[in-house]
């Protein structure tokens, strides 16, 4: 693949004319971005490919609404994020997370983050990622999205505002609420483990 930025204008013009090659190229060019968003916000029991397809179909159907006020990838990112949130809303909240539900590696990671005093642990990164996923499932879709973008992907509030269309104060309130809920979850898990 060449290093040149894709010519979105030309691709969009092609799609508006009904050019199949341009439409396919647009999907190919945008796929790394869409795949990344879909993968990091993927609800349970929803196939990554199906969700990505839904994002592209929304993009094609709303193309007339795109006025070029923001770069096309930003506009598509917003569609991807809102599509993921819609799917998360349909997903039933998981029952309460218990220590017994965790795999051996996840339990070790949880024990390490709860007991060690220093920040740098020799924890299993993959198990930590899985555990993060389990904890995030306990949050509401909007709170989950904010905390994923903020803490896992380390995006700024301005970037999240652009991706979601939410206001700064709403994002901060959601992040605060999500972290408080996560702290409570840790406390519950710790308390129940010691009982």
């Amino acid at each position: 693949m060449d290093d040149q930025a894709p010519d979105y204008e030309a691709l969009l013009a092609g799609v508006r004319r009904g050019d199949q090659v341009a439409a396919r190229s647009l999907v190919e060019v945008l796929h790394p971005l869409v795949r990344k968003i879909v993968r990091s916000h993927l609800p349970r029991r929803v196939a990554e490919e199906d969700l990505a397809q839904e994002v592209y179909l929304k993009m094609f159907s709303r193309l007339e609404q795109y006025r070029g006020e923001m770069p096309l990838p930003h506009w598509v990112s917003r569609i991807a994020v809102t599509t993921c949130i819609d799917h998360l809303r349909f997903q039933q909240r998981r029952p309460e997370l218990r220590w017994a539900d965790l795999s051996e590696n996840e339990a070790e990671v949880l024990d390490a983050v709860l007991t060690s005093s220093d920040g740098e642990d020799a924890t299993d990164a993959m198990a930590a990622k899985e555990l993060v996923g389990r904890l995030l499932e306990q949050l509401s879709p909007a709170d989950r999205t904010v905390i994923t973008l903020l803490d896992l992907e380390q995006k700024s509030v301005a970037e999240i505002r652009e991706l979601t269309g939410w206001g700064t104060s709403m994002i901060k309130v959601r992040a605060f609420r999500a972290r408080r809920k996560l702290r409570k979850l840790f406390e519950q898990l710790e308390r129940k483990e010691r009982q």
């Binding site: 799609v15 009904g18 199949q20 439409a23 396919r24 647009l26 999907v27 190919e28 796929h31 790394p32 993968r39 490919e49 990505a52 397809q53 592209y56 179909l57 993009m59 094609f60 159907s61 193309l63 990671v109 949880l110 390490a112 983050v113 709860l114 060690s116 005093s117 220093d118 920040g119 642990d121 924890t123 299993d124 990164a125 993959m126 930590a128 990622k129 555990l131 993060v132 904890l135 803490d151 896992l152 380390q154 972290r179 996560l182 702290r183 840790f186």
Partner: protein, 97 residues
């Protein structure tokens, strides 16, 4: 010593996890999605056109039916009304005086 927030430690560990990379698009995915997307873009106008023609046809049929059913009834009732107007017993009585 204050304990560090376990969530902060956990996400820091999770961020170190290698990203799952499957760079290649599934076979035929882009072609299929592009075809569906373009078909979807063409559909709204077609559907609108199809419904507009159907609506016009139904409206004409309703108009003709209502005219066909309504005209004899309205003409009959107009005839009844005109005969009623002619039968005026009071006027007849006054005329006889």
């Amino acid at each position: 010593m204050k304990r560090q927030d376990p969530w902060v430690k956990l996400v820091a560990a999770a961020r170190r996890a290698p990203a799952e990379e499957s760079a290649a698009l599934p076979l035929g995915f882009a072609t299929r999605v592009a075809a569906l997307g373009l078909a979807q873009r063409r559909e709204p106008a077609d559907i609108f056109g199809m419904f507009a023609l159907r609506a016009l046809g139904v409206a004409l049929a309703v108009l003709i039916t209502s005219a066909a059913v309504g005209y004899p009834l309205s003409s009959a009732s107009a005839a009844d009304n005109s005969s009623d107007e002619l039968e005026d017993p009071v006027a007849e009585f006054v005329a006889q005086l």
